[in-house]
Subunit: 232 residues, 2 copies
Amino acid sequence: MRFAVLGTGIVGRTLAGRLSSLGHEVVIGTRDPEATLARQDKDRAGNPPISAWLSEHPQVRLLPYAEVGAFADHVVNATSGDGTLPALEAVGAAHLVGKIIIDVANPLDFSQGFPPALDPVNTDSLAEQIQRAFPEARVVKTLNTMNTLVMVEPTRVPGPHSVFVSGDDAEAKKTVTALLESIGWPADEIYDLGDVTTARGSEMTFALWVRLYGAFGDGDFNFHIQRAPRSA
Amino acid sequence: MRFAVLGTGIVGRTLAGRLSSLGHEVVIGTRDPEATLARQDKDRAGNPPISAWLSEHPQVRLLPYAEVGAFADHVVNATSGDGTLPALEAVGAAHLVGKIIIDVANPLDFSQGFPPALDPVNTDSLAEQIQRAFPEARVVKTLNTMNTLVMVEPTRVPGPHSVFVSGDDAEAKKTVTALLESIGWPADEIYDLGDVTTARGSEMTFALWVRLYGAFGDGDFNFHIQRAPRSA
């Protein structure tokens, strides 16, 4: 498949690298590739600039948002929450018709400091905002409840742990579920929460995740849904 | 210990019964015991009236809020979220000085239907509201991330699963942690999230919990924090 990953941060590049390693064709979208490539500083988390990453991943091309839509079958939203709608607008609604938008972002709101709050939250979600803004795209929320490294390598955290899927389009969720399995997620740990409004549930889990991250000092953990055996 | 459980619903009575079975002295607080006892209908979930429950648990007394404070060492908040502050006001601030308020409630907001949203949420929490309103009490948020039956009988869900503790007072959290262990929670599954503001994290988990409850059709599940082994 051909993927356009939006966002050059650690989430975008980690997902792009993993999808590429699985044999998919991958481009990373950014607003202004020239400006993005000119950055030579490490980011706040100490990650090297995207230029260094790209030189190690020559099969992944960096393109302006406006050019990724013609290339890609599917779009992965790995932008920061407040950059999501502008990025998708720059991709262009016409390029998103019928396509799956795999939304792995959380709408982090740093306006009141750390840990960030969420905006939107509670009675709305980023996934719903995207679906409303691009009604002809097929939004699937997933992978937004864990650290990036766990997203692409679930065995990094040993033992059973879970991933969630939300979206209105059953066929799109089936495609994304198969993709999650190809990444290494066990089928019985992929939970379909329901329609796109259920993304409120997975997005709001961030509030617990970030505090556990603070308590642990690392992101090598994940939520597992432990269920009683069913009598059925 | 002597506990006052606020709230006569399924959460309050289940916790009251369990605390009583552990040998504690327990009263249940309600606004108007006479009116509460007069109710003979099952609740929406099909639970029998509190009068039937009390006749099976004669060691637990039903008292007006105003009378439970003089009796209890600790208060358990098992009221509905919007009933919490009025209930605690009826107990009386003077009766809460120095006491632990174990807050197991979530501030459910049904104003937009089912599943409920939360209010407060995101930049505030019910636990913080209680702590602000009763600064001389010691609020500990816990047990609010699971079904009532799982709260009091963790082995109902086999395998490892977790419970969270939030609060400003370290000594109070220690007391509550010991109480959780006496209920059956393994010490290594009790996570101290930090100060009372971290209750936002556990309260917001409700948004995922309620959707899993919808997907599963039952509440016999819980969150487990799966961690990678630490090198320390």
